[in-house]
């Protein structure tokens, strides 16, 4: 059971990202971090101090950052290019498409403070498009770790991957999610709670409100909701989706992304093309000028919250 205490116990995934990279860099001189005046926001201050020769600072120039990272990766370096998700995946999109994905340079792109983590800094600083644009580009694995466990595993896998990976991180401290799973693979969703009445599929920082909503539904209404952390958006875990859709019960997807082109539409596309007729709802940020406020306020406003998700579940269940 997730309690306020266990929630407080987690670190921000970015801290774990930085610690994991430091642990790897000690034994592997090829691990490189490339930044665009983003060291502080990426929690990489300590990495830079300990491994100055494994740090390449580019300055505020995200296109250059990705191009340089691709060049470094082409020589066998294990490159983590770190920049706010908004700039990394919008401004440097052509470099990602051509220099990284198409040219098969296995850069690990790390999008920090993704989604609406930057809150009141506004739309220039939000990345609600990154899943959509990257999904449409061939040869890039898209991962949004939910908790510290998934983060550490994802970084270790990414370091050794010989293909491009996009890792998307928020800013908030994330608790260890309640799960017996100890294995982690890209492309394999993680069941954080079982339940036969409906399925909540979430990713990144929305897994937490989804899990809280499932607990609320159980406590208040005896409804058993399964919760899946679909950390890999591409390739999507069709097998797991199939398994959970097979009971015919409602499915709700939850993501910190535009309602267009993300996790929800990826799931819908699979389900429709495979003759599933489950009741289905995509919970995401609608196509409008995003309301202003902190991440939490934005989540609450659009129902990406414990209450909002539970309410949507009740509606879909017809109760």
């Amino acid at each position: 059971m997730l309690t306020e205490k266990s929630i407080a116990a987690g670190q921000a995934n970015l801290e774990v990202f930085s610690e994991t990279l430091q642990a790897l860099a000690v034994y592997d001189r090829d691990i490189l971090v490339v930044t665009s005046d983003s060291r502080g926001s990426g929690k990489l201050g300590p990495f830079g101090v300990k491994f100055p020769k494994q740090t390449v600072e580019i300055g505020i120039a995200e296109q250059n950052l990705v191009g340089v990272a691709a060049g470094l990766a082409s020589t066998g370096k294990k490159v983590f290019a770190v920049s706010p998700a908004c700039f990394l995946t919008a401004r440097a999109l052509e470099q990602i498409k051509n220099d990284v994905a198409y040219s098969d340079n296995p850069v690990k792109l790390v999008g920090i403070s993704a989604g609406v983590s930057y809150g009141a800094l506004g739309t220039t600083h939000h990345s609600l498009h990154d899943f959509a644009v990257l999904r449409a580009i061939n040869n890039i694995t898209i991962v949004a770790p939910a908790d510290n466990f998934e983060t550490e595993q994802a970084i270790r896998l990414a370091a050794e991957a010989d293909y491009p990976v996009y890792l998307r991180f928020g800013k908030k401290a994330m608790p260890l999610l309640n799960s017996e799973e100890t294995t982690f693979e890209f492309g394999k969703g993680r069941v954080v709670k079982n339940g036969g009445d409906l399925t909540l599929i979430a990713t990144g920082e929305t897994v937490l409100p989804a899990l809280k909503a499932a607990q609320k539904l159980e406590m208040e209404s005896g409804i058993q909701a399964a919760v899946i952390s679909m950390h890999t958006i591409k390739p999507l875990d069709y097998k797991l989706l199939h398994e959970f859709a097979a009971n015919g019960k409602p499915i709700i997807t939850v993501e910190e992304h535009s309602v267009y082109g993300g996790l929800g539409e990826a799931c819908a596309s699979y389900l429709m093309q495979n003759n599933f007729h489950n009741r289905f709802k995509i919970m995401a940020i609608p196509d409008e000028y995003t309301v202003t406020g902190s991440q939490e306020e934005i989540f609450n406003h659009y129902g990406l919250s414990e209450d909002g998700i539970a309410r949507e579940a009740m509606t879909l269940l017809g109760t």
Partner: protein, 274 residues
């Protein structure tokens, strides 16, 4: 406006920047304090723009490329009467239009900025339009020194000289710092004057806190016929508050209650000396 009046305003603006950042518990403090003297002179002594002519196609345009120091802009716009200053009480709150970067939802703001490296291209487009339509308005844009490595700046710099945009004035707030460290260490861009001259601009360097020098510099626009003008303003990040000056952490540091009080005391003392 007289130099003395401007000097008083600068202190007032600094106090307000800190007041609203302190209240919102968020904001870009150091860079707002480094550019406020430039904004003061532009809005009160140079540009032909205010609430009364903001819908006129002939108004001068100001586009803030370093959008993160929006607090400086908001404080000046409020003082010019674009909106009641009390609106700034809602800075960064739920549903407020007054967010951490310039948005056109706020009266007086020309362009939505915040992602660095956009302002110069937007300004070039606006200035080309003036030339096409034979209009006399001028375009001003403020850049950070840390944002210069964005390639778009150099693309726009080429377009500006190619189209001989002497109705365009760019100002670089050269405070020598960005987020991760001194600009010289993060990505050295000096010598800036030689670079922009090579790109076909007419360049002047000024003390970005010397109001008289700023007034005289802008009065001399365009520096050369047929060339865009570049003002390299040497400034101090955190200028006006002793413990903030040249300190990296004040990029987006928010003062504590005691720090805020001390800042007000220092600024009041500075005002008394004018």
């Amino acid at each position: 406006m007289s130099e003395q009046e401007l000097a008083r305003l600068s202190v007032e603006y600094r106090k307000k920047i800190l007041k609203y950042i302190y209240k919102a518990k968020a904001g870009h403090t150091g860079g707002s304090l480094s550019c406020i003297d430039i904004l003061n002179v532009l809005y009160n002594d140079v540009m032909n723009v205010g609430p009364e002519n903001f819908s006129s196609p002939d108004r001068d345009r100001y586009i803030q490329s370093k959008g993160h120091t929006v607090e400086a802009l908001f404080v000046v716009l409020a003082d010019k009467g674009f909106f009641p200053e009390s609106d700034l009480e809602t800075l960064c709150q739920y549903k407020s239009h007054y967010i951490g970067h310039p948005t056109r939802k706020v009266h007086g703001v020309e362009q939505n900025t915040g992602a660095l490296g956009h302002g110069l291209s937007l300004s070039v487009g606006t200035a080309i339009s003036a030339k096409l339509d034979d209009k006399d308005f001028r375009v001003f844009t403020l850049l950070g020194d840390g944002e210069l490595p964005e390639g778009s700046n150099w693309e726009a710099a080429l377009t500006a000289s190619h189209y001989k945009l002497d109705n365009l004035c760019a100002i670089i707030d050269c405070n020598g710092l960005q987020i991760s460290g001194p600009t010289a260490e993060v990505c050295n861009t000096e010598p800036l004057d030689a670079k922009f001259e090579a790109f076909g601009w007419s360049v002047r360097q000024v003390d970005g806190h010397n109001l008289k020098e700023l007034q005289d510099t802008f009065a001399a626009l365009p520096f050369e016929q047929g060339k865009p003008s570049m003002v390299i303003a040497r400034t101090i990040k955190g200028k006006g508050v002793s413990y903030m000056e040249n300190q990296l952490k004040w990029h987006h540091g928010v003062p504590s209650a005691e720090q805020y009080e001390q800042a007000v005391v220092e600024l009041d003392a500075a005002c008394a000396e004018i």
